[in-house]
């Protein structure tokens, strides 16, 4: 029951899905950064709406969250941010459940989802919402035609996996290794095992957590992933630019370059997996 936009984004089998925290370090620069990702080849963009207690994030994204909150980001500003963006690729909102739950006059996820649908967002990833607690959000997403992406961890097996796969739409976020977000120097062997467990399910599989270079991207796509999700390696560029006082255009150019490296890596991985596949 996935959205046509997300289906299309994964159709060629090597989707590049970058993440940035919206408003990091400020509203205007962040708009430029997200637009640079599209120019660099993003197929879907995960936009983080920062929550004060990001329990699934490592230090890199925790600091992005702090910068963004200090820059005045709120759910209302986030929706203005989405409206101000000039990008054509589908946008997925990544945030924690309490912000979705509290938005609007009635409690529960419906007002947030309604607003997101109005602004053309395609779906959600909510790292602290396991399938067991997801019914109200799933219902609201169905009502407004949005996708709900779930994370599958290396520890997810059996009944749990079944339960998640019944609820998931858009794509499944394959967590490449245990732990929290953060760029790593090698790519985990846990990924292959996870992709293997998921092979029977007909939904795009995007691998994330730790991917840092085009070579990582290549190996992961070659290993069977339909896409790669990259956050911390991009947030690192934003953080470094912020610390050095670089202007937004310079940082945006670096992001675009990094995005292209990752997208090219994913393409190479696909070519190696299926050298005879037809591409237009």
């Amino acid at each position: 029951m996935s959205n046509p936009e997300l289906d299309a984004a994964f159709a060629d089998g090597a989707a590049f899905v970058p993440y940035l925290a919206a408003g990091d370090p400020d509203f205007e620069s962040s708009i430029e950064y997200v637009e640079a990702l599209e120019r660099g080849g993003a197929d879907v963009i995960e936009l983080g709406l920062p929550f004060s207690e990001p329990i699934a994030e490592g230090p890199t994204i925790q600091e992005a969250v702090v910068r963004s909150l200090e820059g005045g980001m709120t759910p209302a500003r986030f929706f203005e941010f989405v409206e101000a963006l000039d990008v054509d690729v589908p946008l997925v909102c990544m945030t924690y459940y309490n912000l979705i739950y509290q938005y609007g006059d009635e409690s529960g996820p419906r007002p947030f989802v309604e607003k997101a649908a109005e602004l053309g967002l395609s779906g959600f990833v909510v790292p602290d919402l396991p399938a067991e607690e997801a019914d109200p959000l799933r219902e609201a997403c169905d009502e407004f035609g949005l996708d709900l992406v779930f994370i599958v961890a290396p520890t997810t097996r059996g009944d749990r996996l079944e339960r998640i796969m019944e609820q998931v739409s858009g794509y499944v976020y394959v967590q490449a290794r245990l732990g929290v977000t953060g760029a790593q120097d090698d790519v985990s062997g846990q990924t292959a095992a996870s992709l293997d467990r998921l092979s029977a399910y007909d939904v795009p599989k995007a691998v994330g957590f730790g991917i840092k270079t085009g070579d990582h991207a290549e190996r992961i796509v070659e290993g069977g992933a339909d896409g790669i999700i990259v956050g911390s390696a991009l947030v690192d560029i934003v953080a470094e630019g912020h610390e050095n006082g670089d202007d937004a255009a310079t940082v945006a150019a670096r992001l675009e370059e990094k995005a292209r490296e990752l997208k090219d890596g994913a393409e190479r991985g696909l070519a190696q997996r299926a050298p005879q596949a037809e591409r237009t």
């Binding site: 929550f51 004060s52 207690e53 990001p54 329990i55 699934a56 994030e57 490592g58 925790q62 702090v66 909150l69 709120t74 759910p75 209302a76 924690y96 459940y97 309490n98 912000l99 739950y101 509290q102 938005y103 409690s107 790292p127 602290d128 919402l129 396991p130 067991e132 607690e133 779930f150 994370i151 599958v152 961890a153 290396p154 520890t155 997810t156 097996r157 749990r160 998640i164 967590q175 245990l178 732990g179 929290v180």
Partner: protein, 415 residues
């Protein structure tokens, strides 16, 4: 699995709002809780009780407080959890969970701590049961509670400072959850209160309910009656739930959860600061650290920075079962401010020869201000002793005008 299996919900509160990587560990823990704690498989509960007695020093006394009784003209009894090994009720839970981790075959313990009491209790239990242990503690709390940092290290635990945010309990819990998510296969997270995802709130309550189990019996023996009211301070709510659990079905017993009113109950929305920790009294429903409960949050749902003079109460959330019992009208949520708590600290020290933890002092401050409504027989849970707080008490008292306090200038600057 039977249909009546407890699903971890207290009304709308509770639940399991955690990253997927933790869910299998949480299911494993649920299973272990049901088998070992609820069904006493392999004699787990027998071993737990035996160790609580021999290592912990249980039962703790329920003491008739003569001078307080005289002052308030009613019978005041003290449940002396300050006499438990480690100096606070925290060991009941820590020993239970570290032992459970052993039964589950885990090889490593992590814990968060605010005041350092839970970290200390966990470090003691881990040394006692030969488990490696790492404790996460906010940097600000490390500075406020130095004696406890030394105690943890002496017991062989590592203490990891948490520097994000304001560096208090909330950040320490988030950081411990991250460690657990990374090392979930061989590690157990010993959470320090009746908070977090199911089964923690129910399990921690069960380990702590030995407090009210003993107190109920001791009141019958000593006073010949159940108390008219039971007072306990509430941070996350573990000494509270422990002191209340066996009285919940006694309709004649009023239960008072005394929260930290901090410097004021007013909230600074702009700065995202609540200068108190009174989530039951002033908070609203939301989701934090794995559970739906009452929280200090702004209109958007961002969690606010809390405040209390006592680090152990300085938390923006509260246990889901306690939030439920308050909504149901079974427990009354009340609060007292920093000044009243400090004054009560000095009063108890002088009148009863008991130096209470600053957390505990909140319960006595409520007794002072509202003794009339509490009935003829009052039971106060002395959740811990105040040795850990001496430095902060000297500093905080010196900044205030507290009539009954001894002159603190002589001590300022440390011992």
């Amino acid at each position: 699995m039977s249909k009546t299996r407890f699903d971890g919900k207290f009304g709308d509160y509770g639940g399991q709002y955690v990253p997927e990587a933790l869910m299998p560990a949480i299911e494993e823990l649920e299973d272990a809780y049901e088998r070992y704690v609820l069904a006493n498989e392999d004699g787990f509960m027998d071993e737990f009780r035996e160790r609580l007695a021999d290592f912990g020093g249980r039962p703790t006394p329920t003491q008739y407080a003569e001078r307080l009784s005289e002052r308030y003209d009613r019978d005041v009894y003290l449940k002396r959890e300050d006499l438990l090994h480690g100096g606070a009720h925290k060991l009941n839970n820590a020993l239970g969970q570290v032992l459970l981790a052993k039964y589950m075959g885990k090889e490593r313990i992590v814990a968060e701590t605010g005041a350092g009491q839970h970290g200390t209790a966990t470090a003691m239990a881990a040394a006692h049961l030969d488990m490696p242990c790492e404790v996460y503690m906010g940097e600000r709390d490390i500075n406020r509670q130095r004696p406890n940092v030394f105690r943890m290290k002496l017991n062989g635990s590592e203490v990891n400072p948490v520097t994000v945010g304001r560096g208090t309990l909330k950040e320490a819990i988030s950081e411990t959850m991250r460690d657990w998510a990374t090392n979930v296969e061989d590690t157990h997270y010993v959470i320090g209160s009746v908070v977090g995802p199911h089964p923690f709130p129910a399990m921690v309550r069960d380990f702590q309910s030995v407090i009210s189990e003993e107190a109920r019996e001791q009141m019958r023996e000593k006073a010949g009656t159940l108390p008219d009211s039971v007072l306990a301070c509430a941070g996350g709510g573990s000494n509270t739930m422990g002191a209340f659990a066996e009285f919940v079905d006694d309709d004649g017993v009023e239960l008072y959860a005394v929260e930290a009113g901090g410097s004021t109950l007013d909230v600074d929305e702009e700065a995202g600061v609540a200068p108190n920790s009174a989530s039951l009294s002033t908070g609203s429903e939301g989701v934090l650290h794995g559970a739906r409960t009452k929280l200090l949050q702004d209109r958007d749902g961002q969690i606010m920075e809390s405040h209390s003079v006592s680090s152990g109460l300085d938390y923006a959330g509260v246990g889901p079962e306690l939030a439920y019992l308050v909504d149901e009208g079974r427990v009354r949520a009340v609060n007292v401010d920093d000044d009243a708590a400090l004054t009560a600290f000095h009063r108890l020290s002088q009148l009863e020869g008991v130096i209470p933890a600053l957390e505990t002092a909140h319960a006595f401050a409520y007794l002072e201000a509202n003794d009339e409504e509490l009935g003829d027989t009052v039971l106060v849970n002395v959740s811990g002793r105040g040795d850990k707080d001496l430095e902060s008490v000297i500093e905080e008292t010196a900044q205030r005008d507290i009539d009954i306090a001894p002159d603190m200038d002589a001590f300022a600057g440390g011992f």
